[in-house]
């Protein structure tokens, strides 16, 4: 094998004092050969981004590498001066970031942003030549209509298109090394699949080494030549993709791999007997916008005649790409927004068009768990206060509510001391448990989980899903489970609904749907999902 494009030797980056551990990364060594894709995986906070930042020389000032070497084509970057680093950045190494929404300057045309890469490095290129090159690059990443697209602003592009622009930008000067820090995490599955395909294709053509950071083993199995697993700043395992995925040595790796949801539905449970549904909607419609004297914004039909029914003890999954109206449906049912038309029945009563005042008795019966665990708890109130608030609103005494909170906090797997603490003292997964406890405290009939696990690490995700499963069993709850991730849906749901553009395009029992998706969109969704090709691994051998 030829000389590696990137070689990190015994790199350590200390954390500032007061952090939860001493080093962001500690004694890390890894190499990337030309034409190779090296995936760095690890849970959140394991030091993946810091590694990328250290290579690019883009660490925040508080983080300074204290030991080791970073060799880019043999040159030690830690010894390079600012001017030299500037030359290398974008020249010999380039980076693609996680958030395509924010990584592009919203005020500049994308073509100019790509061209800037050329201006900064290939200064000799004339204006016209630059324009041609930009067009070429945009075409290379399969952007339609490169000519006109170059004149667009970032907000006029979809997330996938933006990520393609970022990749085009990275490719502009034929770098030896491309670092991609979770480039697909923010995209929906179909787009993610396209981007991954693109990266493979480019890498095959260009012979650049790619350091690909991700926390998703599905992605790893799709793209990696070699895998590096990190945990709390240290390298725990490394090797060819094949061997790490199929024969993980380190228990941590095994645990990670085991946590990856399989895209196979578990065997169908005994369906709850058909009683009258606890929740049903009929022809639910919601239009946004078009309001106001002078018209505020374009009108959007977010929901278009949705009819669903939910039995006690049943879990109904709703999948669909971003913007398909899943959250809107949840919010209409919970009456955080007012539906435009249609019916929402709780028990027998239609609450769709009730005025806010009259809603009070019904609120208790539907509870929502939100996507963002960091924003769904009031940071200024203790966990206990947050949990007892609802029951007390419905007349429970403080003592009784507190007793109930204690039970629930135990039920969700936290100790009673948690009640006295504030949300910031908990991790994302723990917060999501607290949110579940809060919802359960209301003794609801229906629990709506809107992307309740999407923001969590796979390992944590798995725990929360298990919790929901357990609760469903114990309390005979009806759950409306909203997700964009088919694998997650497959694991939990009895029935699935596939949404597209505010409409239901397909509906059926989970297993049946997986076995034989009817609608083209559903099939596309299945095809795109990154799937672990390796056989299942038990967490504990």
């Amino acid at each position: 094998m030829s000389r590696p494009v990137l070689e990190i030797r015994n790199l350590s980056v200390p954390l500032p004092r007061g952090a939860d551990r001493g080093y962001a990364i500690e004694d890390l060594s890894l190499t990337v050969a030309p034409g190779e894709i090296v995936c760095v995986v690890g849970e959140s906070g394991s030091g993946k981004s810091v590694t990328a930042g250290a290579v690019m020389g883009l660490l925040p000032p508080v983080l300074k590498p204290s030991a080791g070497q970073i060799l880019l084509e043999g040159e030690d970057l830690l010894k390079a001066g600012p001017a030299r680093m500037r030359r290398l950045r974008g020249g010999r190494m380039a980076m693609v970031f996680q958030e395509p929404m924010t990584a592009l300057n919203p005020a500049l045309r994308v073509g100019d942003q790509v061209a800037e890469m050329l201006e900064a490095h290939a200064g000799r290129l004339g204006r016209g030549a630059r324009r041609d090159k930009v067009r070429q690059l945009l075409a290379d990443v399969h952007l339609p209509n490169p000519e006109s697209l170059a004149r667009a602003y970032p907000h006029q592009l979809s997330g996938g298109q933006r990520q393609r622009v970022m990749i085009a930008m990275a490719l502009a000067n034929d770098p030896a090394l491309i670092i991609a820090d979770e480039p697909t995490t923010a995209l929906d599955v179909t787009t993610q699949a396209q981007i991954l395909k693109l990266m493979r294709e480019l890498q095959a053509r260009r012979e650049a080494g790619i350091l690909f950071i991700t926390h998703d083993f599905g992605v790893v199995s799709e793209i990696a030549d070699r895998v590096v697993v990190m945990r709390t700043g240290r390298l725990v395992e490394e090797g060819p993709a094949e061997s790490v995925l199929c024969r993980p040595q380190d228990p941590y790796t095994r645990m990670l791999i085991a946590a990856v949801p399989r895209a196979e539905p578990p065997p169908p449970r005994a369906r709850p007997s058909l009683v009258s549904p606890v929740l049903a909607t009929r022809d639910l419609t919601k239009n946004y916008g078009g309001r106001g004297l002078f018209g505020g914004g374009r009108p959007v039909q977010a929901l278009d005649g949705i009819s669903i029914a939910l039995q006690p003890g049943e879990t109904l999954g709703i999948v669909g790409e971003s913007g398909s109206g899943k959250s809107t449906l949840a919010r209409c049912i919970a009456r955080f927004v007012d539906p435009t038309a249609g019916h929402v029945r709780i028990g027998g009563d239609d609450i769709a068009l009730l005025p806010a005042r009259a809603l009070h008795p019904y609120r208790r019966r539907i509870q929502v768990i939100f996507q963002d665990p960091y924003r769904s708890l009031n940071p200024r109130r203790t966990v206990g206060q947050s949990i007892v608030e609802g029951p007390m609103n419905y007349g429970l005494s403080r003592e009784a509510a507190t007793a109930r909170a204690k039970n629930l906090i135990a039920l969700v797997g936290l100790d009673a001391g948690a009640l006295a603490r504030y949300p910031h003292a908990f991790s994302g997964g723990q917060r999501q448990r607290i949110a579940i406890a809060r919802a359960l405290a209301m003794e609801p009939d229906v629990l709506i989980a809107d992307e309740a696990v999407s923001a969590l690490d796979v390992s944590v995700q798995r725990q929360v899903l298990e919790l929901l499963e357990a609760i469903r069993e114990r309390l005979n709850l009806a759950i409306l489970f909203i997700t964009h991730d088919l694998r997650v849906a497959a694991r939990l749901c009895d029935r699935l609904i596939v949404m597209l553009d505010g409409r239901i395009v397909e509906e059926g029992a989970t297993a049946a749907l997986f076995a034989d998706p009817k609608h083209a969109y559903t099939r596309a969704l299945f095809a795109a999902a990154p799937v672990m090709k390796a056989p299942p691994v038990e967490a504990v051998p």
Binding site: M56, L58, M85, R86, R87, L88, R89, G90, G91, A94, M95, F97, E99, T102, A103, L104, N105, P106, A107, L108, E116, M117, A120, H121, Y153, H155, M166, M169, L293, F294, G295
Partner: protein
Amino acid sequence: MGRFILGRLAATLPVMGVVAVIVFLLLRLAPGDPAAILAGDAATPEQIAAIRARLGLDQPMLEQFATWIWRLVHGDLGTSIISNQPVGRLILDRIEPTLALATSTILFAVLVAVPLGVLAAWRHGTWVDRAVMGLSVAGFSVPVFVLGYLLIFGFSMQLRWLPVQGYVSIADGLWPFLSRLILPTLTLSVIYIALIARTTRSSVLEVLGEDYIRTARAKGVTEARVLRRHALRNAAIPVISVIGLGIALLISGVVVTESVFNLPGLGRLTVDAVLARDYPVIQGVILLFSALYVLVNLSIDLSYLLFDPRIRY
């Protein structure tokens, strides 16, 4: 877009209506009687009453208000009670110095403050940052008139570089015009510089933390370019809106600065009018100032279009 502008213009009407009502009520409830002022030292109550009647001040308030608004809608700001001149003409006579002072202040302040603010943000946490911020806080701490006196004392009385007071129209020569504008501009811009520099700093600081700045740096673009092309433009909106909101501050400062430097502008016209209870003049000028404020802020809203392509009305 045209629809949007029209809509926004229409939305300024209620605001101006509120201003009109407030100003009118405030004045009519105020003690002090222009009739008594006109009547003078040796006047008898009957004379005062006669003058009140002639000025229409004995009419019910609602009627007075209706009359005023009716005339206003027809472009008639009324006639000064004291000097008998049409308010429109008084304002026209006085508008030039005020505009000159305000414009030069804004220009000067922006030219000084924006680079300072960017510098402070770029050198965040260093002594440069602290010095710039310290100075601009200090700028907020000295009463305008004290600063004015100090500048006159230093530059006019001791150094004799610049005239103490007065205004010369630009039509009568550039240097005479400028020389009389320099000190008032300096005096008035201090607060404005402080305001803009602080906003620029915090806005640029915020933008510098954005992902696309990291992207730009990852491209190997020079720092100067990062600041100019990526940071400044995206930081512009808060800065521009503070310039607009600061117009109110500026107008307040103008009132004081004009009396310290004897600039025959609108600020003094208003203070004089308030002291003389010259209702039509006060109403006219305040309405004008408010309209100016509203329009400036409207055009600033529109200027966002230039800076942020995401905004599409």
